[in-house]
């Protein structure tokens, strides 16, 4: 009978609404947390990669647990695709961890985080000020990842007659031509995230010189990403047209690109400093060198180095062990042994911290030391932040150059994405 069905429907809907609101309301959203006692269990959500294994994390925190009896650091690997979506799921379930590694604070995440600005020890951690948000420090990191690096095959350079690494993009274009003539693939790239990332890494120094307040200008509407990046998109298009980049590279995974370069097939490979870890493990019959990404003609070389915080940590405001979590994070980013272990494991750097360097890592450290400034990269960090998801949107559009889109079309598409996602 219809009336009964209607009554039943209303009952179900009522229950559903109650459950829905309960589900959204109980989601572990911001509260003040609690200082907690001197012992207890600290849950730490971390990034797990081939370098940063669960075993590595367990071994890393073992000395802290030993030095603090009654403290148990529980390492949590992402259950989802990554740390970001796992944290979202945990927040929605009302069960967030105490400490999170990998994520950078942004205006969305900041209300959920403990403000570390008042802590004396944070000020000497790498990029803490640069990554601050509205004058507040939420992230502390172990080191820096240099982003604007060009690794090169020294044998290929010699065979191509290149005696000095290029310092401008024009010189680099000429060298790409020489490498092609010498029978090498001039510039190695791949599909996945690498296509767009490499273009950003390569152009960070030139962009920082041309538009020093890039992120602020974009957010203030004084320029657009498309407008600022158009010259570099055109340059990249010309490299594609001249065969300096393989048009079929999008069919490669990122690890395949690393392998191809380390097999000696390509002349140059633009990548972040973490590539040094892969290089150290590879068996090869040539030497790899590295130089800072070139600048545009007329700009001062070397330019600012694109840099991101290595192993950034956050403390969730909802923690019931705020003091203990702070103590752990402080230890992770200031204890010499813990810092060196993390730097070494993922090929990262920190000025003033000595560790056993490979020859290539020594060169990267020199580049970092010589850089006149460090600039945010990609989506950026702190006050220099573009909307979340920019990196992948940029990557997709840059890949459009490979399938026939013009640089202008790519620039327009990026700007459309940004205006649709700007808050």
């Amino acid at each position: 009978m219809r009336p009964a069905r209607t009554r039943g429907g209303i009952a179900v809907l009522g229950a559903l609404l109650t459950l829905t609101l309960a589900g959204c309301g109980g989601g572990g959203f911001a509260d003040s947390g609690a200082a907690g006692g001197g012992t207890g269990s600290i849950r730490m959500l971390v990034n797990v990669t081939p370098n940063l294994t669960q075993d590595f994390w367990d071994r890393l925190v073992a000395p802290f647990e030993k030095a603090n009896p009654g403290v148990d650091v529980v390492i949590e690997a992402p259950s989802g695709k990554g740390v970001s979506d796992t944290l979202q799921q945990q927040l929605a379930a009302g069960d967030p961890p105490d400490v999170v590694e990998t994520l950078m604070a942004d205006p969305t995440l900041a209300p959920q985080l403990v403000d570390l600005t008042g802590e004396d020890w944070v000020k000497n951690t790498p990029l803490a000020q640069e990554a601050s948000l509205g004058g507040k420090i939420y992230n502390v990191g172990v080191g820096e990842q240099a982003q604007s690096l060009v690794f090169y095959n020294k044998t290929a350079f010699t065979k191509a007659g290149i005696t000095t690494p290029p310092s401008t993009l024009d010189e680099m274009t000429q060298d790409l031509g020489k490498l092609k003539t010498a029978g090498y693939l001039p510039l190695q790239t791949s599909g996945d995230f690498a296509t767009g990332l490499q273009l950003l890494q390569l152009t960070d120094p030139a962009l920082a010189a041309a538009t020093p307040q890039f992120y602020q200008d974009v957010r203030a509407g004084k320029t657009t990403v498309g407008k600022a990046m158009l010259p570099y998109l055109k340059l990249y298009q010309s490299w594609l047209d001249q065969g300096y980049v393989d048009k079929n590279a999008l069919g490669l995974k990122y690890p395949d690109a690393e392998t191809a370069f380390l097999q000696g097939k390509a002349g140059m490979f633009v990548m972040g400093s973490w590539f040094t870890a892969s290089e150290a493990k590879a068996k090869k019959d040539f030497e790899v060198g590295v130089f800072a990404a070139p600048v545009s003609s007329g700009q001062k070389s070397p330019g600012a180095q694109g840099a991101t915080m290595a192993a950034p940590y956050l403390i969730m405001k909802s923690t019931q062990h705020r003091d203990l979590a702070t103590k752990l994070v402080r230890w992770l980013v200031t204890d010499q042994q813990a810092v060196v272990a993390q730097l070494k494991q993922d090929g990262n750097f920190r000025t003033g911290v000595q560790r056993e360097f490979t020859p290539l890592e020594q060169q990267v450290q020199k580049i970092l030391d010589a850089a006149p400034a460090k600039v945010a990269q990609g989506e950026g960090y702190g006050d220099s932040t573009l909307p979340r998801g920019f990196n992948s949107a940029w990557n997709t559009e840059v890949q459009g150059l490979y399938i026939g889109h013009s640089p202008e079309t790519v620039a327009d598409a990026v700007d459309r994405w940004l205006s649709a996602h700007a808050k």
Binding site: L16, S84, P111, L252, G389, S392
Partner: protein, 296 residues
């Protein structure tokens, strides 16, 4: 006529028996769907305490979003072509191995094997085979042939994705068809043979009508499976080149978790849910009509 008291007892017993299923159905299906609908009307980013109600604006954006339209096209193409492929292969191989012999048992295992593998593993496996530096292209280029852009050209990559989807899924169709074919009455097949029917005539007029319900189940299952393709896209193409092989499920998860737009992603998932339900219902009804026609 039953005494009134006994009837009441029966009603209570029925309610008690139905209760667990009702609770499970509500918690596992109605609540998540209700939540998705609720979130689709908000701007929730997955972190904020209080998502703002934005009405139907997410739906307006979904329908005007070129990325969504492209992903919808790829998804529908994969669903339709893949469903045909899975069922043609499933039925073909099903007929080949439907008789129980030692060889057919081994063949069934081999045919089902791709489905046992995780879709992520399948994707990585095929990208190692078909990638630019993969086994096939290495073989071709080392023999002087031109490289084939299986994963680097948008059209090739879409075709490759669909082919790998079919490869990974047709084992299930095969198993269901084998089960269906074993229920075809032997006396009917024997009668057709005695009447001088050809193999095709026997298949067309005896076998196919007998397995019609299995065909319906297979078509609906294939369609639903393919409409929510996600993990194979992650491992095979990462949605590329240039986002040209993004499916709706891939896009929904990307928008929701990677870009932190759970409200928008929920609106996309509600649209996908409606389309999937509509297509599944349409196929079921069409098949039911066909079945009735076959039995008439």
């Amino acid at each position: 006529m039953r005494p009134p008291g006994r009837r009441r007892d029966g009603g209570v017993a029925t309610a008690v028996m139905v209760l667990p299923a009702t609770v499970l159905y509500t918690v596992m299906l109605i609540v998540p769907v209700g939540l998705a609908i609720y979130l689709s009307l908000t701007d929730w980013d997955g972190y904020s305490a209080a998502p703002a109600f934005v009405g139907g604006s997410n739906y307006g954006e979904v329908l005007s979003d070129p990325e969504f339209r492209r992903a919808a096209f790829v998804t529908l193409l994969a669903a339709v072509v893949g469903t045909v492929g899975m069922n043609v292969l499933g039925l073909g191989f099903g007929m080949l191995v439907s008789r129980t012999t030692r060889v057919s048992s081994i063949l069934r295992t081999i045919l089902f094997y791709p489905h046992v593998l995780s879709a992520l593993v399948v994707g990585f496996l095929w990208s190692a085979i078909l990638g630019t530096n993969g086994a096939v292209n290495s073989f071709l280029t080392s023999h002087g042939a031109k490289l084939l852009p299986f994963l680097s050209d948008p059209d090739w990559a879409t075709a490759t994705l669909i082919a790998v989807l079919v490869w990974a899924q047709f084992g299930v169709s095969t198993v269901l068809y084998v089960a269906g074919l074993q229920t075809v009455p032997q006396n009917l097949l024997e009668a057709a043979r005695i009447d001088g029917a050809t193999k095709w005539q026997t298949f067309r007029h005896v076998t196919l009508p007998a397995i019609a319900p299995v065909v319906t189940v297979n078509l609906v299952l294939s369609l639903i499976t393919l409409l929510k393709t996600y993990d194979l896209v992650v491992s095979l193409t990462s949605g590329g080149p240039a986002g040209q092989t993004q499916t709706l499920a891939y896009l929904i998860l990307w928008n929701s978790f990677h870009d932190g737009r759970l409200g928008f992603g929920s609106a996309q998932s509600v649209v996908l849910m409606i389309v999937t339900a509509g297509l599944a219902l349409a196929v079921t009804r069409l098949r039911r009509r066909a079945d009735q026609g076959a039995h008439a």
